[in-house]
């Protein structure tokens, strides 16, 4: 997870040599987006999730996230992240620690405050819903450049913004998607829209990202993103606030002991 959430988190690196011009161009766009999204060292943010079940039912989650960027240029180590839940109240204090890798499944630990139990969990079920939302685990984590292959599709305007449209195909068999179609603007390489196609090749979900703001004159971050599931009419709105950069986080702030300290 090079950058939080829905943003491509990527890394200029060595992937398999593309075999066609469109593949090379798709990879270049993704790599440039990755390069621009990186270099933040660490960040923190507060998230509010609104889950809607499509029948009028609504539920909220509040969480805080901290990210430590992986060592620059490392061929395997990705970002470390720590997510702590403030609500729903029965989950308060539950924390999820993730060590991201570029070429293998992430390592994850879950802290259950009621039992004081730190539980290593399998990161392989990444297509499962994240805390009951329309976001899958893999929509948050596993966004490293190396976890997809790419193809340039076309140029297109989206809401008046000039965009590249690229396709990315998950590497490995444990993804819930066959492919994703991604809209990035030509000026800053920010993601505005992603379409997710399921294993039957039908459109499963659409993500719309909005309210980008520039922080510290170099980090573009979204204020909101909305994931809509077309097959169930359920949706999840994510609001990001309180972005902070340059927190001086170190590996010690993302240790297994740190899970128990999170409040």
């Amino acid at each position: 997870m090079r950058r939080f959430g829905i943003i491509l988190g990527l890394m200029v690196g060595m992937a398999a040599a593309p075999t066609s011009a469109d593949e090379a161009r798709g990879y270049e766009i993704a790599a440039e987006a990755d390069r621009r999204a990186g270099g933040f060292e660490d960040s923190a943010a507060t998230l509010r999730m609104v889950l809607r079940d499509g029948r009028g039912g609504e539920s909220e989650r509040a969480l805080r996230i901290r990210i430590l960027e992986g060592p620059d240029g490392d061929i395997d180590l990705g970002n470390k992240s720590l997510i702590v839940f403030d609500s729903p109240a029965d989950q308060r204090g539950t924390a999820l620690l993730t060590y991201g890798y570029k070429s293998e499944p992430d390592d994850q630990w879950l802290y259950l405050p009621a039992l004081k139990r730190v539980k290593r969990i399998a990161a392989s079920n990444k297509s499962g819903p994240f805390v009951g939302s329309e976001f899958a685990y893999e929509d948050f984590a596993g966004q490293e450049l190396e976890k997809f292959t790419y193809r340039y599709l076309r140029d297109e305007q989206l809401d008046g913004i000039d965009c590249f449209v690229i396709e990315r195909i998950p590497v490995g068999s444990d993804s819930g998607y066959t492919r994703q179609v991604v809209w990035l603007d030509k000026e800053e390489y920010r993601i505005w829209k992603i379409e997710y196609y399921d294993r039957k090749e039908s459109l499963l979900k659409t993500l719309r990202v909005s309210d980008y703001r520039l922080y510290d004159e170099k980090h573009w971050r979204p204020g909101a993103s909305l994931m809509v599931n077309h097959q169930t009419a359920k949706s999840t709105l994510l609001n990001y606030t309180d972005y902070r950069f340059g927190n001086g986080f170190t590996d010690a702030d993302f240790s297994r002991n740190s899970l128990k300290r999170m409040r």
């Binding site: 889950l51 079940d53 039912g57 609504e58 539920s59 909220e60 609500s87 729903p88 109240a89 029965d90 989950q91 308060r92 390592d107 039992l115 004081k116 139990r117 539980k119 290593r120 969990i121 399998a122 392989s124 079920n125 297509s127 499962g128 819903p129 009951g132 819930g176 010690a252 240790s255 297994r256 002991n257 300290r261 409040r263």
Partner: protein
């Protein structure tokens, strides 16, 4: 540090913390429960047990988070059982963070282990048995814990001062031993003042997680024996039990291996000083989880574990000496966090079975409903006649270890409000 001291501090803190309820670093829960027993008990005819509780937690930190104070205090009230009505200081601890180490001092709770059917290795805290039969409710334990985190793992050192007696239901309470437990005896001359210590190393390599631990001190698990009174100079059993706490040494091993949707688990102990020669016990098995079963967004998990104890039939307190645990865990992944677990412990030799049901669902963001059920089958109720009951307790039937539980099937409804 006696139980009275704990209760007093817990009471004072519960009372004095209430005005702080609006602070962000304060949280609280209030719960209501009813336990319903289809049968009358061996000791009491009562079949409905209403109860309520409150738990308060307060946290503050300073020095940029390098120092923190945590306080967790609870009070439980039971309409029928005086022993279940109790207060406890779960935590009152100071954390100091150094470079690669943490010092945690005060009353705390610590959990060790990976298995689901039995918490075999877990030994730092005493079980608050009146609240949970599965040992997942713990009394606060005074300690000093130095934790050092290195690239080759986390090393924890514990000095444990002040022993906490296990809680048991009172004369009018359920579910518990055939007689109420009244009083404790210790192997150590210093009794509950005996200082215990423990250490643990935990690390992970790839998909392997493991821990090695050692504990030396007063056993958290007691052996229950009929209390003896002198009647006309003759030692005579009475209608109560005494908890005997020996001084033990226990080495523990925890291992877990992740392979796709499979989680393989092992907990093993080697224990000496517990009335018998050194013995070993283990629980091992797997949990297999399928995501998105039958085209839904639900997860279905299968838990299979085998419980083994070297002492076999002579493991007096230990009902898990040769038992298989099989359970299905269902997680709906819905807005309300609906989930459930249905399992059974089965002794293949004696055919004794313990059914285990747990389910929960949020009603909204602040309220939650929890339903639990326990059913005991395959055993024979103990005799009700006093002399025969004492005889049965003095020479327990190894094929009827759950005999005293046979009338104690119950279902428990809990309604919890979070603040």
């Amino acid at each position: 540090m006696g139980a009275r001291w704990f209760k007093l501090v817990a009471w004072i803190l519960a009372a004095s913390m209430t005005p702080l309820a609006t602070a962000t670093n304060f949280k609280a829960e209030v719960g209501f429960e009813v336990r319903a027993f289809p049968d009358q008990g061996a000791r009491t005819d009562e079949q409905l047990f209403p109860a309520a509780w409150t738990e308060l937690e307060w946290f503050t930190s300073w020095n940029g988070g390098d120092d923190a104070l945590t306080l967790v205090s609870g009070f439980w009230w039971d309409a029928e059982d005086d022993e279940r009505t109790h207060a406890d200081l779960r935590e009152l601890s100071w954390l100091h963070l150094g470079e690669g180490w943490e010092l945690r001092s005060g009353v705390r709770r610590v959990f060790w282990g990976v298995a689901e059917s039995q918490h075999l290795v877990d030994i730092i805290n005493q079980s608050d048995l009146v609240l949970a039969l599965d040992g997942e409710e713990k009394l606060g334990q005074p300690m000093v814990n130095l934790s050092v985190e290195r690239p080759y793992g986390i090393f924890d050192f514990f000095l444990l001062s002040g022993f906490r007696e296990r809680t048991f239901p009172g004369v009018d309470g359920r579910v518990g031993p055939p007689f109420p437990v009244d009083g404790a005896e210790y192997e150590s001359d210093r009794e509950e003042g005996h200082l215990s210590w423990a250490l643990r190393w935990t690390h992970y390599i790839g998909d392997w997680n493991f821990a090695v631990s050692h504990f030396s001190g007063t056993s958290r698990e007691p052996q229950l024996r009929p209390a003896i009174a002198l009647v006309g100079g003759v030692p005579t059993p009475t209608e109560s039990l005494v908890a005997h706490y020996p001084t033990i040494d226990q080495t523990g091993l925890e291992a877990q291996y992740l392979a796709g949707g499979w989680v393989w688990k092992l907990e093993a102990i080697s224990r000496s000083g517990f009335f018998t020669p050194r013995y070993a016990a283990a629980v091992f098995g797997f949990e297999f989880t399928q995501g998105g079963v039958l085209g839904t967004r639900s997860d279905l998990g299968w838990v299979v574990e085998y419980n083994w104890d070297e002492r076999g039939d002579s493991a007096q307190n230990q009902v898990f000496e040769q038992d298989v645990f099989v359970a299905a865990r269902w997680v709906a992944n819905d807005l309300r966090g609906t989930e459930g677990l249905l399992g059974v412990y089965l002794d293949p030799e004696t055919r004794e079975r313990v059914w285990w049901l747990e389910a929960s669902r949020r009603l909204n963001s602040d309220w939650k409903l929890v339903v639990e059920g326990r059913a005991f089958a395959g055993g024979h109720p103990l005799p009700t006649d006093f002399a025969r009951l004492v005889a049965a307790l003095s020479a327990p039937d190894v094929d009827n270890k759950t005999g005293y539980l046979q009338q104690d099937d119950f279902v428990r409804f809990q309604l919890i409000r979070y603040f």
